[in-house]
Amino acid sequence: MNIAVILRQVPDLIEPLEVDASGAALDLSAATFVVNETDDHALEQALLLKESGRGTVTVVALDFGEVDNTLYTAAAKGADRIVKVAWEQTQAPSPHAAAAPLAEALRTLAPDLVLVGVQAHDELDGVLAPLLATRLGLPYVGVIRGVKAAADGRTVVVCKEFPGAVMARLTVRLPAVLGILGADQPPRYVPVSRIRAAMKSTRFEEVSHAAGLGPSGIAVTRMAPPPAGARAEMLTGSEAEVAQRITELLAEKGLLK
């Protein structure tokens, strides 16, 4: 089974996010990037599938942020091929914009299974995984927690959560796109010496795209940090005074008798 995994870069929330001079976008020069968490699970799931049978794992990523670090780590973990898709824009890829070049690269690879993280914290205009499925004309199932390959090689069995504490096992005909919430086990740790070795030995397949970016249905007019709530009351004074005030407040709200 040939599996393709999409790995996205998202702003690292360790740094405070800042809005740029336009007032409608993040200041990316002040941001650092990490791999999207659920994409990391998608990679782990792909590696587990590969290790449970035969197959290859191909990582596909837009050339954005600190993607090289992410790709070398993926190679060190066991990805067989790394495809880096050109991204000439300065702004971060939105799901609609990213779907076109990624789908074009996937079409060339013609994988049996495409694994994508089910969401990313910077998705503004939709969710990438179903957008890719639509462009590729493939079935899509999301919110997946675990994938097993079937013996026939033509289907996979996925675990999907539904509201109301319902868990379903679905048999999915391949090829298909899956939105991964979590892999069967947490993403593996790979020692840095392996990443360093991968930096020396890994060659990225760099591809451009002909079709241009996907059109977005939205335009951001203004971006701002959430306004501070006006109703917060900052308690000041000595510890005893603050404690006294907290006790009074709890009593006022009927929480103390």
Binding site: I14, R188, Y189, P191, V192, S193, R194
Partner: protein, 404 residues
Amino acid sequence: MIATQGRQGLELLEELSRTGDGKSPLGCMQCGLCAASCPLGDVMEFPPRKLILEAMSRGLDRVLASPSLWMCVGCYTCSLRCPRDIELTDRLWPALRDRAMQQGFQPPAELQETFQNVLKYGNVLGKSPRQRLDWAKDLDVRVLDLSKEPRPVEVLWLVGCYPSYYPRNQVVTRAFARILTELGISWGVLGPKEKAIGECDRMFGEEGLFETLVEENRKILAQQQFERIVTLDPHAFRALQNFYPRYGVWYPVEHYTMFLANRLEKLRPLVVRPVEATVTYHDNCCAGRRAGCFEPPRALLQLIPGVKLVEMDRNRENALCCGGGGGGMWLDAHIVAQGGRRLSDLRILQAAQTGADILAVSCPYELSRFEDAAKVAGLEGRLKVRDIIELLAESMDLGERSEP
């Protein structure tokens, strides 16, 4: 993916014999002093003696798969007591852990996160490098950030991860800044450019991460002019003294207890306020047991008027480790799950037995470990935990309140 062959164990030991510190592990005579001395040896499937026997006779399969591989906290007791001078702590354990990770065995989860933090952010706590100097905000002495204003200084102070970011440690960090300034020493820090030195990563077998840090620190240090490095962290001291030189990165380095003890006569007229307390001192493993720095911290404590120094039964080279070294800060859950214990919980009782009011420490890990242990033991309020720096600063009238 996870498969080793019988001969692998012998081959690894032979490799260590050729390249390692200390004497060859093949010279092990199975006396068992290491296992008997190990504070966690009773709950390890493979304490050092059994580990070597297994590697020699049956190979590495069971050793690499055993949870006990991730239980050593790097206290050096086995290494120093080994009659054959086998360097168990610095060589054998890291080599086995490295081998395990190369073969896909996973280290405990908390530690994975710590490694990733160090690789990505340059600090164990996963904080933004830009916040490295937050401890110095509104400080009453000038902190020279050499990454912004490079100039020759007497002391390049490598502050360390916990001292830079962890609120309890920041109290000590600020006090040390005041002491350096009061002593009239020209000093500077690397601010947002400072990175972890990586000793715990090295000891934990993350050799690639350690080498990455050495390369980054090599470049950062080469841009500065200074007479010596001073560090609050005995682990960083150990790495800079013993392991960085092997990569051609050599600078004079002192743990702060050595640096200050060399200036006792300058300190003497400055310690004006008595600290009326019975104090016992916990020897850290890296500067203490491993490097023999036992008297400088005691000399500093005895300099303080009012301090009555008492010793625990286990002191100096026989001191019991706090359990935080060699990655131990992130192994408590793993060790306890394997039937082990937080060594700080035992050590705090030994400190209490002396009747001391204060347990004095000189390693950044120990403050939070022992303050937690004091709470567990119900000693909170009766036995305070203080860095030597805090006691000095209090006596020099430079302290800030750090109650309880």
